[in-house]
Symmetry: C2
Subunit: 342 residues, 2 copies
């Protein structure tokens, strides 16, 4: 009983009166070991407080049970909270399955790829989780080329249909989110429902805008009015405020659906200061939305993280147990005071 030395497979084996390999089998291939031997070994493991050294295992197997994720700079803390919650859920799910999350930073995609390369070479990371996918994302191609398991949180955006199945991914259906927002507002009696979205070029933005537009067309609105109800501005509270003022003056909507809580917060501020009864719906259900009573489209981040992990484990262990390699989750609307009857 030397308290200073960590127990190893060898010392456990000695105590249980078996060999190294038998102890290893108890842990990694229990079906090979007879029940009574297993019991004796387990007792020895508990008695000594044995825990396997991941360094030794990693050296031998080439696997580390560690996932890599790039921590992006906090551009906008309002929307940044989305990734924060995803990260927390991912860490928790991974931990429950015996995996860890290791962070790294990079200033651009090329830097991220350089980090992949270094982490794979030195730390033997098992897989990566990519966020903020975008058009012509070279990161996915780089990893795929090298047969490194990975999932993206975000669809593979691209013009060609085969891009959609390029690699495993998890995403939230933004279009369904804005559609639900419109449905909610129409149920409350709103008809002229505006949309505050981002400028062209953002695929996520197009997706969210498309849901609103489709729902409005379904409701019988024609193209001319839709164009006047649709503002495209860069993300931000101030931009949202200015945009809603223009749209209010031009098209007199009674409600507005926004591509983000930032834009929605701007709209809400204007509405409240002008005493207007404009109903506002945001997107992402950030803590700010909860704080100011803003109805918002909530992404199921916890589930997204769980599913992303499943997709990874399928590639790593085969223990993920998923059917499809593409997972599109439906968001749900969190109703608060900002959406009321017109």
């Amino acid at each position: 009983m030397d308290a200073t030395t960590r127990p190893t497979l060898e010392s456990v084996a000695q105590r249980a009166g078996v060999s190294r390999q038998t102890v290893s089998n108890v842990l990694n291939a229990p079906h090979l070991v007879r029940a009574d031997t297993t019991d004796r070994v387990r007792a020895a493991i508990d008695a000594l407080g044995y825990r396997p050294s991941s360094a030794a295992r990693q050296l031998r197997t080439g696997r580390s049970r560690v996932l890599g994720l790039r921590l992006e700079p906090v551009h906008d803390g309002i929307n940044g909270a989305v990734l924060d919650r995803f990260l927390h859920a991912l860490t928790e799910s991974a931990q429950a399955r015996g995996y860890r999350v290791m962070l790294f930073t990079a200033h651009d995609d090329a830097g991220e790829i350089a980090q992949y390369s270094e982490l794979l070479d030195t730390a033997d990371l098992d897989a990566f989780v990519l966020t903020s996918t975008h058009r012509e994302d070279e990161r996915a191609a780089w990893l795929a080329e090298r047969d490194v398991p990975f999932v993206t949180f975000g669809r593979p955006w691209g013009a060609r249909p085969e891009d959609a199945a390029a690699h495993p991914w998890v995403d939230v259906d933004g279009s369904a989110g804005t559609r639900a927002a419109v449905a909610h507002l129409r149920r409350l009696g709103h008809e002229r429902i505006a949309y505050l979205g981002w400028p062209d070029g953002s695929d996520v933005g197009e997706d969210r805008a498309a849901g609103w537009a489709a729902a409005m067309v379904d409701a019988g609105h024609d193209g001319g009015l839709l164009r006047r109800l649709h503002a495209r501005v860069p993300d931000g509270v101030a931009a949202g405020a200015q945009a809603i003022e223009r749209v209010l003056a031009d098209a007199a909507p009674t409600a507005v659906v926004c591509a983000s809580d930032s834009l929605a917060l701007g709209a809400l501020t204007v509405a409240r200061s002008q005493g207007t009864t404009l109903a506002v719906v945001g997107f992402d259900d950030t803590p700010v939305a909860a704080a100011v009573g803003l109805t918002s489209v909530a992404q199921p981040l916890s589930e997204a993280a769980q599913r992303a992990l499943d997709l990874l484990l399928d590639q790593l262990d085969g223990t993920g147990g998923t059917r499809s390699r593409e997972v599109l989750l439906a968001p749900h609307l969190v109703e608060r005071a900002s959406s009321r009857t017109p």
Copy 2:
């Protein structure tokens, strides 16, 4: 040139015409190797694209160059952004020094300690960074007892003076922050400056409140008025709004300093909706503050992370180069539209 096999010390040594150990020395103890030999070895390393296996190194040395950090659940995304930015800065600094950050989650301090134990045993983590320190924090004692290097982001709060030097820590001087806020407001001509803080029991809260109180006493205000200007409410936007209404009615302040941006946002909302010219100063300079034009006390999070890392490296390598084991950083005020002349 076998593309399928990673280069090892051995293959580099062969190519350079030296032995394994010499290559290792070039990397870890360059002073032992003659200059021309070093050059040849370096050339071989570059030619083969050699990168040391951290698993093998870890197995031999018992060090992993990995830091552990508990990712707390996102209680309030407004203030949660503070830890988010700290984490980003920490990851970046660590990466620059050859260290990585590994995450874990836990539901309470006991769970966190269980994770320490497991991570130390299995993954040989080199050190931990603790956040959200509080009174009678058992985590620090557990780690200290086992001689595990760690730093806390947050002072060791405790009654006895010797607690302050219990272990290395980095913190931001909240008291100096609120003091600076009061000074700023007085410079603008404000005299009756209220304070929205948290209920008793939060050491961070007491610290911030103390700065305001001291500055007000310096300005010649007496205890009676101070008590009426000081509200204690749980954190949150709604709580902030209600509290400022009470204080406005009771003590008629022209400005208010808040313990958080959440409280400040509540105060600001009330001020704007009532058309009052109340000046508001928040705390933490979260992205929300920037978004809504709220003057706020900014914590130097990037520097805090850097200093925390230095304190760790001092314990690990001796390469941190710090003098003191306690680092108290001064915050600075970010002035925006919410603070104006009365």
